[in-house]
Symmetry: C2
Subunit: 290 residues, 2 copies
């Protein structure tokens, strides 16, 4: 499939704003867009998300899929986007009604964010992740370096999260959003719309490895989750429960794996030395995570 990467120069995703620097001198910088998007499933308003605004179809489908309001075998009959109204409507062959479910929201952690619904954990317990694939440590940090090198809103304006889906060191999907949860949902949306299986994939995120991130990755059927950021104890605990490979604090050729290390092949040290250089470089892009 054709890879999907960020389009940092696309109109509407950033605005040039002028202000002053610390010396009181005028400065103009690109600033990312943040706008509301209300997601409907058929006749039902589900949520209003603040988002970058690109890829509303993928965001809506992925959000609904990750909430299991869209099931794996649902047939999408139409996706209508109204930019004026900032509304996206996903229509399915199956009649849907989640009024009860919509009453039971859980407000999740910081960057993990988002809105989780009560019955999600039931699905989580049912998932069995594939034993494989095995991935080389060097592939993981080559993937990380590749993502840091792809032109993005992150490199252009910062203040944004990114997620990527890959089978090796080259991302198949790399999507960004103000909200990390939105970036994750966009990935899930493309996976659903293009019938991409998670079973042989690596999921890379810039955000922290919290419960919501782990739950979504497992529900997406992806066995390996990698982040440049750190862990929460509950996130690690869920990952170990599900047998998810959880790799955090990815910096250059350094990382920490706290769950599912059996899927990682700890290969050549030489590779690391080379990577350490690009690590110093990428340190300018991201220090210790928040």
């Amino acid at each position: 499939m054709k890879p999907i990467y960020p389009t940092p120069d696309k109109a509407g995703l950033t605005t040039s704003l002028t202000g002053l620097d610390a010396k009181g001198q005028p400065v103009t910088i690109p600033v990312v867009t943040e706008r509301p998007l209300t997601i409907f499933l058929n006749r039902q308003e589900v949520v209003t998300a603040m988002t970058l605004g690109d890829q509303p179809e993928a965001l809506a489908v992925g959000f609904l899929r990750n909430q299991n309001m869209l099931t794996a075998d649902d047939e999408i009959t139409a996706i209508d986007v109204d930019d004026e109204l900032a509304v996206v409507v996903v229509r399915t062959a199956r009649a849907t009604d989640y009024e009860d479910k919509l009453q039971k929201k859980i407000r999740t952690s910081g960057c993990a964010q988002g809105t989780l619904y009560g019955d999600i954990m039931d699905q989580f317990d049912e998932v069995t992740l594939p034993k494989g694939p095995q991935v080389k440590a060097s592939t993981l940090y080559q993937l990380s370096a590749a993502i840091n090198a792809i032109p993005s809103l992150y490199l252009k304006a910062g203040a944004i999260h990114g997620c990527a889906l890959a089978t090796d060191e080259t991302p198949l999907l790399y999507l960004e959003d103000i909200g990390r949860h939105n970036a994750v949902d966009k990935i899930a949306g493309h996976m659903f719309l293009q019938a991409i299986s998670g079973a042989d994939k690596i999921f890379y995120t810039t955000g922290r490895l919290t419960t919501e991130m782990v739950i979504k990755t497992v529900l997406m059927g992806i066995p390996i989750l990698v982040s440049r950021s750190g862990f929460t104890e509950a996130g690690v605990s869920l990952a170990r429960q599900a047998g998810l490979t959880l790799v955090g604090r990815m910096r250059g050729a350094r990382f920490t794996v706290l769950s599912g290390a059996e899927r990682i092949i700890f290969d050549d040290i030489r590779e690391e030395v080379k990577q350490e250089k690009s690590s110093a470089q990428s340190a300018q892009l991201g220090g210790r995570e928040r």
Copy 2:
């Protein structure tokens, strides 16, 4: 008042977890706690937040205050915390019922996160921020350096957000949480419980300057908002509308102000040179924000 700072070594806030590093060698690291806390206002369940778990009283009061479910003149008669049930109940002299309000949630951006309710913007439009105070640029980066030097879960374990309230280069309140919104709410909670006015304060956050962050700061009556992270266009637009001083990308002696620059005194350049050194240092703590 006695300053309130993080307690990184307090039991229960971190757990030591063992895994492998990129060379396959065993490594043990501290990982922050993430746990659910359900907030009740009198008889009504309002929200379940995933949180660090410290300061449930301040978090609950601040959350309710920032949602305007607790009004400025409400009298809190009791705050009951049940650690077993992970529940905090805030009781008020006034009888409350926000059933309608609870139906109307907006899912907000990434780290800004949280749950905003429909009528919040009405309050936002009514707020008039004080003209003052004026603050020196050097005070802002001394404050930033001070926050980076105070022992914290961020320095110990990472993967956490921090917020601080100050009148000068020394924070009065510095609180952390998995969720930035929770850290903000904890500040609001202490402000309410100790009757601290926002009118002469500087609000520092590690997170991005999104709409929710700007809205909450304005509703808290704080005229100056500073972040080590970046901006969203909508956040800047709301700040300009409210006359909020919005300072972002604070790194060492560098920052960008995109709104309300009249409250900033651009003082001595010499100070900057000195600060540039500590900037290199703090660059290790935080690079480009997500």
